[in-house]
Each structure stands twice: as structure tokens, then as C-alpha cells.
Amino acid sequence: MKLLVPVKRVLDYNVKVRVKADQSGVDLANVKMSMNPFDEIAVEEATRLKEKGIATEVVAVSIGPAQARDTLITALTIGADRGILIQTDQDVEPLAVAKLLKAVIEQEKPDIVIMGKQAIDGDNNATGQMLATLLDWPQATFASKVVIADGEAQVTREVDGGLQTIGVKLPAVITTDLRLNEPRYASLPNIMKAKKKPLDVKSIADYGVDITPRLKVVKVTEPAKRQAGIKVADAADLVANLKTAGVL
């Protein structure tokens, strides 16, 4: 069974976001970038499925600038077998990413796509669902448990109010939630090995997909700052303040 894992290079989740003074976007110059945390969980899950003998090959794909190669190497370090970088300096919206991934999938013919439920930069939570739709594959989003058996993935999903378990016939798209697993740390031998694994570099033109943005970003601004609060002395003081504020 072959697995495909799309991964995205994003601003590291620990970095404080700075909005550019000209409101054209977020300042990404000279800041730490990392693999989107949900994608790390996806690569880990794919690697575990390989270790269980269920998957035979794990292919990681990233769409982004030349530096997205580092993100793919992270995936290869965790356990992916080879990488495909579709290089572009343009921002690619979720629908266009889904179309590019569909083109990759038509060539690679994986049985399962495992990907993060959302990227922590755009916070869209859309690409996996769009990809499943374009492929006419079933989807299992926000997965916290995945069991593969008899040509089906049984997936426990995190939903408002609790958990839901569904069965999706393969091929299928699964998107990961935080509690699916805890990604492993990279060991030095694995880092060395990852550098020797194959990594193909492609261009958007190789797939014949139109990635022209559909949405025009007018501006990016900082959210309104909260007014500085006060420290209260004790619980009685707190309750008095809350009563004055009218929330108790």
C-alpha cells in the first residue's frame, strides 16, 4: 500500500507573528520556519503504518519555495521514503493546492493520502476536504485514531460534542488532528539517511494547473489590542470588580 503525505512549510508555531507596517502581509523575513505541526503528525502516522507492515512506501509532497526542501527533508527524517517538491514562489490557495495534489495523485496512485487538518498560517482547514472532493474519494477529517483493515480505514474523528467513528473505503483522504499521535524526534542517523533519499524537484508547469489566486488580499492588519488589565489583591477584590463590570 502506498501513502502520500502533503506537507507545508510555515512560520514556526512558537514564533510571535509580526504584521508588516505596509499591511501587505506577515513578516516572514529572517524568522524560523518549520513543518506545519499537523503535517508532522501525518508523516508520523504514515511512518507508523509502514512500520506495522501496512504501508510499503510513503511519499512526501510539498508545494512552496526552494526552502520547502528542508520541510521535505524533515519528512524524510521522520520516515518518508522519497520527496516531491513542486517549487513556486507564489502563494498557492487551498483549492489550487488540492488541484496540484490531485495531479500528483494521478501519477503516483497512492491508496491513502494523510495530511494535516489545517495549516497554522492560513488556518483554512480546507485542502484535504477539497482534495477528496476533486478525486471523488471519501474523506475522514480530524482523525484521532486510524485503523486500516479489509480495504477500509476506520477513523475516529474529533467532532464538537465528542468523537465519531466512520469507515471510509480506500482510496481515501484522512486529515490529522492533534491527538492522533506524538511525532518522534529526529535521530542523527536518520538525519544522515534522509539526506540520501530521493527528492524530485518539479514546477507548477509540470502539472498544468492554473494557480492564479481567486482571493485578493486587500490588507493584513493587527487585531485590536486588549486594554491593559489590573492585578487584584484577593478573591474578594476580584468578585467586587467583576460585579462592578457587570459580568457577575
Binding site: 477528496a132 476533486l134 477529517t141 460534542g161 465519531q164 491527538r179 482571493l215 493587527e222
Partner: protein, 310 residues
């Protein structure tokens, strides 16, 4: 301009996230119809028909729709979308599951987590865990958006819309419902609560989490929330998680107990009207967003707080 609002309900009650999505739809101008899907919809459809400003309520019933299988819901909504300019979906876990499918089926981009409708083509949405706001303009002929309901007031009652049933799509053979496990709670729902008391890793255990937060929540009629750290440590169910990857809430009063205030947690609660932080670390980032901060050990503060509340 016509807008189809997708209702959110629990089978017996319409959630007020539906009313809030109607408010967002009103900002677009034009006619508003509401779609209610599931099974046994009479009560919920009647509630939707009362929302002020609603022209028509459509109902669609099938087992797959009740199970909220994305394939079924997106097929239904996409079929109806032909008659509308905009499809507006509350950004619940169900809405986030099917709305991108509707957009892909219509070959349009998705406007996700909209917090402000500037005009019929211009929308504001949070990015980077709410640390930046993006204003986007779309030229798509048809629009699909999910609405961050905490950013809108609920539309009131006073309407008297007609209720009309519509056919449910055929079930997909590629997906089947197996089971579900709902968290049972007699507290108000996190998304709708006026007061939320939330606990973090400092509480140390599931027993302590309950022992500390339940009496306070009961006294205040509040919902209970948790930080990701508390959920990951097993102190609280996943469903309690407030943050970028959990629920986004905006109650009148949010009381954070033993929560340091990581960026991801703040993303889920920083639009609360009044924020209270109780933490023994005076340097904890939560104090930078708290209106009222109390530096101290929750073990001594909470009993005092219960006494002060009387």
C-alpha cells in the same frame, strides 16, 4: 442577492450559532433561506422559521444527513446552491467538514472563519491563530463561507417563514457511519456559555480538574473549558479544548485557572468580554490579556473565591 444559511442543531434545539450566521448573512443584503438537515426536524425547523429576517426554511431528512457525513451534506448543499449567490455555514466541526467540499464542487475558493462582512465581496478573517486579520476580496460569482459565530450577535425571533421539504441525496457507498461517543455534561455548551471556567496543566490530575472546576462552574452556571496541555495530559476530554485547534469562544466572562496562556490558547478566547487569570506565576503570558489578574496558588484562591461568591 440570496443567501442559503445552513442551520446547526442537536436534533431538538436550534443552536444560536444558526442565528449568528443569519446575522452575518444579513450583512450581505438580500433574501435569506435556512437549510435544516438531519432526521426528525419538525421542532428545529419551527425554531428556524421564527428567526427574524428568514424568508424560507428548507428541510432535508436522511440517516446520512443526521450522521453529518460530509459526502451527503455537501451533495445536498451543492445541489441547492444553484439557486443562491452565497452559502453561509457556521464554522462548527460539521461545517468545517463539508463546506470546503461544497466550494470544491462549485470550483470556488472557500472563505473560512469569516469574522466580518465588509461588503458583498469583501470579508475579514483571522490568520496565524488570530494574531493577524486578513481582509480578502473575492470576484467569485458564487461564494461559500464559514462564519466564526462568536464574532456576530444572534438574530432574534419575530419571523414567520414557510417550511418546505427538499429531497435528500442518495447515500455514498464509499463511507459508512460506525458509532459515536458524545461527552455527556449538564453544564451549558462551551460555544454558547456566557461564563466559562477553564483549567490548565497546573491542576495536576483529572480528579483535581473536576474537584476544582466543577463547584465553581456549578456556582456560576458556567461551562468548563481546558487548555491543550490539560487535554493532552488527560485531565479533560478533547471536546473541552479552547484554542486554535479546539473551540473558539467569546463569553462575557472567561476565568483561566492554572493556564499559562500560550498563543494557541489565546487564539481561542481572547475575544471574551472580560478575562480573569488566576496563576501563581506573575510572568505568565495570560496576564497580558487578562482584565483582572490574581497572582496566587489556585488551591488557596479558589476556596476564597467560592466564599466571596457566597
Amino acid at each position: 442577492m440570496s443567501v442559503l444559511v445552513i442551520a446547526d442543531h442537536d436534533g431538538a434545539h436550534l443552536r444560536d450559532t444558526t442565528n449568528k450566521t443569519v446575522t452575518a448573512a444579513q450583512r450581505l443584503g438580500g433574501d435569506i433561506d435556512v437549510l435544516v438537515y438531519g432526521e426528525g426536524l419538525a421542532a428545529v425547523a419551527a425554531q428556524a422559521a421564527k428567526i427574524a429576517g428568514v424568508r424560507k426554511v428548507l428541510t432535508a431528512e436522511s440517516a446520512e444527513l443526521k450522521q453529518e457525513l460530509a459526502e451527503a451534506v455537501s451533495a445536498l448543499v451543492t445541489g441547492l446552491a444553484a439557486g443562491y449567490d452565497v452559502v453561509a455555514v457556521p464554522a462548527s466541526s460539521a461545517g468545517k467538514n463539508f463546506a470546503p467540499r461544497v466550494a470544491a464542487l462549485l470550483d470556488v475558493s472557500l472563505l473560512s472563519d469569516v469574522i466580518e462582512v465588509v461588503d458583498a465581496n469583501t470579508f475579514v478573517r483571522p490568520i496565524y491563530a488570530g494574531n493577524a486579520l486578513e481582509t480578502v476580496q473575492t470576484a467569485e460569482a458564487k461564494k461559500v463561507m464559514t462564519v466564526r459565530t462568536t464574532a456576530f450577535k444572534a438574530a432574534g425571533d419575530g419571523g414567520n417563514a414557510a417550511i418546505e421539504s427538499t429531497a435528500a441525496p442518495a447515500a455514498s457507498s464509499k463511507v459508512r457511519y460506525i458509532s459515536e461517543e458524545k461527552v455527556v455534561s449538564d453544564r451549558p455548551e462551551l460555544g454558547a456559555a456566557k461564563i466559562i471556567v477553564s483549567g490548565g496543566r497546573a491542576l495536576g490530575s483529572a480528579e483535581e480538574f473536576q474537584a476544582v472546576l466543577d463547584p465553581l462552574a456549578a456556582r456560576l452556571g458556567a461551562a468548563v473549558g481546558a487548555s491543550r496541555a490539560a487535554v493532552d495530559a488527560g485531565y479533560a476530554p478533547n471536546d473541552y479544548q479552547v484554542g486554535q485547534t479546539g473551540k473558539v469562544v467569546a463569553p462575557d466572562l472567561y476565568i483561566a485557572i492554572g493556564i499559562s496562556g500560550a498563543i494557541q490558547h489565546l487564539a481561542g478566547m481572547k475575544d471574551s468580554k472580560v478575562i480573569v487569570a488566576i496563576n501563581k506565576d506573575p510572568e505568565a503570558p495570560i496576564f497580558s490579556v487578562a482584565d483582572y489578574g490574581l497572582v496566587g496558588d489556585y488551591k488557596t484562591v479558589l476556596p476564597d473565591l467560592m466564599t466571596a461568591l457566597g
